[in-house]
C-alpha cells in the first residue's frame, strides 16, 4: 500500500479558499497551522484574522478565531491575551492592514512588548480591494492608484516594517522570510516556530514578515510572480533575523 507523501495538516480544514492561483496565502496559512499542530497547540491558540484577502482565514484555520476590523488586530490580540495569558494569540495581517491603517496598533503592541505573534503578509499591494498602492508598494511598481508606477515624490518610499519594529525594545523576535522557493519556505516554517516559542516563553512581541506574491494585481503569471518576488522585492526587503532574544542579528 502506498503511503501518502503529502497530506493536509490537521490545522487546516478541508474548506475551499478564495485565493487566486499563485497566491502564497495558502503557504503561510499552512505553515502556521502545521507548526501549531506539531507543537500540539491547536487547541490552545486563538487567532485574530484581519481585513483583506485573508478575511476568511478562519474557515481554514482549525483554531478558535475571530475577525478583527481593518488594522486593529494587534489591539484585539492584546485584549485576548489579557484574558488568556496561557494561550497562544496571533494576528494574521496584510500590508494595507498592518502597515497603513493599523500602523499605530502594531507599533504600540510591539512597544508594550505584548506577548503575541504577528504574521505580516507583505505582497506590496492591496489585494482584496483590487490592486491599490500599499505602504510597501515598490518604487516604479504599478497599482490602480499609481498607474504609471509609484514615485517617491508623490507617495514617499516604501516602508520597511521589520526594520521599523526592530528598533523597539518590546519587540523580541522579528524575522523576514520569503515564500518563493522550497528552501525559503522551510526557513519560513522555522521562523514561525521560533516566533511561537518566544511567545510561549513570555519573552515579548514577535513577528514574522512573509514576503509574498500577488500575481493577479502584479499582472503576471504565478511563475513570473516568484521571479518578481526574488528580483524586485528581495533587494528592497532583505531577508533575515532582525531581532532575536539571543541578539547578534544583522
Amino acid at each position: 500500500m502506498k503511503q501518502p507523501v503529502f497530506e493536509l495538516t490537521k490545522g487546516m480544514l478541508p474548506v475551499e479558499t478564495i485565493y487566486c492561483p499563485g497566491c502564497t496565502h495558502g503557504i503561510s496559512h499552512r505553515l502556521i497551522m502545521e507548526v501549531l499542530d506539531e507543537m500540539g497547540l491547536l487547541g490552545s491558540t486563538i487567532g485574530c484574522g484581519s481585513i483583506g484577502c485573508s478575511v476568511l482565514a478562519h474557515r481554514q484555520m482549525n483554531i478558535d478565531m475571530l475577525e478583527s476590523p481593518h488594522g486593529r488586530a494587534p489591539a484585539v490580540a492584546s485584549g485576548i491575551k489579557r484574558v488568556h495569558p496561557d494561550k497562544l494569540v496571533f494576528t494574521y495581517q496584510g500590508d494595507g492592514d498592518l502597515a497603513s491603517i493599523g500602523i499605530a496598533e502594531i507599533i504600540h503592541a510591539a512597544a508594550r512588548g505584548e506577548k503575541i505573534t504577528a504574521f505580516f503578509v507583505n505582497n506590496a499591494i492591496y489585494g482584496m480591494t483590487g490592486g491599490q498602492m500599499a505602504p510597501t508598494t515598490l518604487i516604479g511598481q504599478k497599482a490602480t492608484t499609481c498607474v504609471t508606477g509609484r514615485t517617491v515624490e508623490q507617495a514617499g518610499a516604501p516602508m520597511r516594517i521589520s526594520e521599523l519594529l526592530s528598533s523597539l525594545d518590546g519587540a523580541v523576535y522579528i524575522e523576514r522570510v520569503a515564500l518563493n522557493s522550497p528552501a525559503n519556505v522551510n526557513k519560513a516554517k522555522k521562523a514561525v516556530r521560533r516566533a511561537f516559542e518566544v511567545q510561549e516563553q513570555g519573552l515579548g512581541f514577535s513577528m514574522v514578515e512573509f514576503i509574498s506574491t500577488c500575481p493577479t494585481h502584479w499582472g503576471v503569471s504565478p511563475v513570473q510572480a516568484l521571479d518578481h518576488l526574488k528580483e524586485k522585492m528581495l533587494p528592497y526587503y532583505p531577508l533575515g533575523v532582525y531581532k532575536s532574544p539571543e541578539g547578534g542579528e544583522q
Partner: protein, 362 residues
C-alpha cells in the same frame, strides 16, 4: 457593613465596575474622565484585573472587543470626541455580539468643542454613530448613586444580551463628589471556567476541535447577513420592551411638563420647586433609558397640560424623542444651553413661565 462613602463621580463609577465584576479596562486619557483610567490602573491589579493604557480610543474599543470575545468582563470609558472615535467599534461589537460596558463622561462639541459638560451626543448615543443596523441600550444617571447602580447592573446585562451597554453621564456627574453606597463585589468567572459560562467565547477549544468557536462580523452572502440582522433585531425588540426606565413626577395634573435627563433633570427638579412656590404646577419626565426611550411616559400627560418642554444641554437633540412621545397632543418647546453652559434652576423656571405665557397657559 456597607456604609456611604464620599467619592468623586469618575472614581465611584470605576469602583462600581470593579465590584460588578470588571477585570479588564482599556482607556485613553481625555478630559473630563481622566480619573477613571487613573483609578483603574491602580485598583484593577489589586483584584487580579488588567489595565492597558491604549494608544487611542480606537485601540481601546478593540482591546475591549478582544477581551470581551475571549469571555472577559470589560469596561471602557471616554468622553465625547473619544466616544466619536469608538463608534466603528460599537457597530463591530454589536455585529459580533460581544459584551462590553462603555461609559461616556460627556462634554460639549462639535469638534474639540470644550471640556465643560454637554448632552449634545444624545443622537450619537441613541441612534448610533457607527455603520449599519444596530442598537445599544443607553442609560443616563442623574446622580452618582444612580450612576454606580447602573454601571454595576450593566456589567451583568451586557453579558445577558451579548451586546454593549452604554452609560451616558455628563461631565458634571463625572467631576462632582457625592456620598454613595457601593454594592457588594460580585464573584468573577475564573478564566479557566469561561467556556462553561460563555460557550461562545474564544478560549482555545482544548482537545476537541468540534468545539471550535469563531467570533465573526463579516457575512459574505446577503441572505445570511439579512438573517443575522433580523436575529439581532429580535434581541433589540425584546430589549425595547424590557429596558424602558424613567422617573415621572407630578405629570397628571401639571400645567407644564418638563422632560430632562442627567444633570439637567436634577436642575429641573429644583426649577419645579421654584415654580410651585409661584403656584405653577410643573411635572417632570426623566428618561433613565435614552434607548429604549420612554415614549409611553408622555401618555400620562392630561389635557390640563398646556405645553411640554424639553430641557437639555444641546440644541434640542432629545426634543425629537419628546415630540415622538407627545404625538402632537401638545406644543413642544425647548429650553437649552449649549457649549458647556449649564442652565440654572432659576433660568429653567423663568423660561418655563415665559413659554407657558406664550402658549396661553397663564
Amino acid at each position: 457593613m456597607n456604609k456611604k462613602v464620599l467619592m468623586k463621580g469618575n472614581e465611584a463609577f470605576s469602583e462600581a465596575a470593579i465590584r460588578g465584576g470588571c477585570r479588564y479596562y482599556f482607556g485613553y486619557p481625555i478630559t473630563p474622565q481622566n480619573e477613571i483610567p487613573e483609578y483603574m490602573s491602580h485598583q484593577l491589579p489589586k483584584v487580579g484585573g488588567h489595565f492597558i493604557q491604549a494608544e487611542s480610543e480606537l485601540a481601546a474599543v478593540y482591546m475591549a472587543y478582544g477581551a470581551g470575545a475571549a469571555g472577559g468582563r470589560v469596561f471602557i470609558t471616554s468622553s465625547s470626541p473619544g466616544i466619536a472615535l469608538m463608534q466603528e467599534g460599537f457597530s463591530f461589537l454589536c455585529s459580533a455580539e460581544v459584551p462590553t460596558v462603555c461609559l461616556t463622561v460627556s462634554r460639549c462639541g462639535p469638534g474639540i468643542g470644550g471640556i465643560q459638560p454637554g448632552q449634545a451626543d444624545y443622537l450619537q448615543a441613541t441612534r448610533g454613530g457607527g455603520n449599519g443596523d444596530y442598537k445599544i441600550p443607553v442609560f443616563a444617571p442623574e446622580n452618582l448613586q444612580e450612576g454606580v447602580d447602573l454601571v454595576y447592573e450593566a456589567m451583568e446585562l451586557s453579558d445577558e444580551l451579548r451586546n454593549p451597554i452604554f452609560i451616558f453621564a455628563d461631565g458634571l456627574l463625572g467631576q462632582m463628589m457625592e456620598p454613595v453606597l457601593l454594592p457588594e463585589s460580585r464573584e468573577v468567572i475564573c478564566p479557566s471556567n469561561i467556556r462553561t459560562q460563555k460557550p461562545w467565547a474564544l478560549t482555545g477549544y482544548g482537545a476537541d476541535d468540534s468545539q471550535r468557536n469563531r467570533v465573526l462580523s463579516l457575512r459574505m452572502y446577503p441572505e445570511e447577513l439579512e438573517q443575522h440582522v433580523e436575529k439581532l433585531f429580535k434581541k433589540y425588540d425584546k430589549a425595547e420592551k424590557e429596558l424602558v426606565r424613567y422617573e415621572a413626577i407630578g405629570v397628571e395634573d401639571a400645567d407644564v411638563v418638563i422632560a430632562a435627563f442627567g444633570s439637567v433633570a436634577r436642575i429641573a427638579k429644583e426649577a419645579i420647586e421654584i415654580l410651585a412656590a409661584q403656584n405653577i404646577k410643573a411635572g417632570l419626565i426623566r428618561p433613565i433609558s435614552l434607548w429604549p426611550y420612554p415614549y409611553e411616559a408622555f401618555d400620562m400627560i392630561t389635557d390640563k397640560t398646556k405645553v411640554v418642554i424639553s430641557a437639555e444641554m444641546s440644541m434640542g437633540q432629545m426634543m425629537q424623542d419628546v415630540k415622538l412621545g407627545v404625538r402632537d397632543r401638545f406644543p413642544v418647546r425647548l429650553i437649552n444651553r449649549t457649549g458647556g453652559m449649564i442652565p440654572t434652576s432659576i433660568e429653567i423656571a423663568e423660561r418655563t413661565k415665559k413659554i407657558l405665557e406664550e402658549t396661553g397657559g397663564q
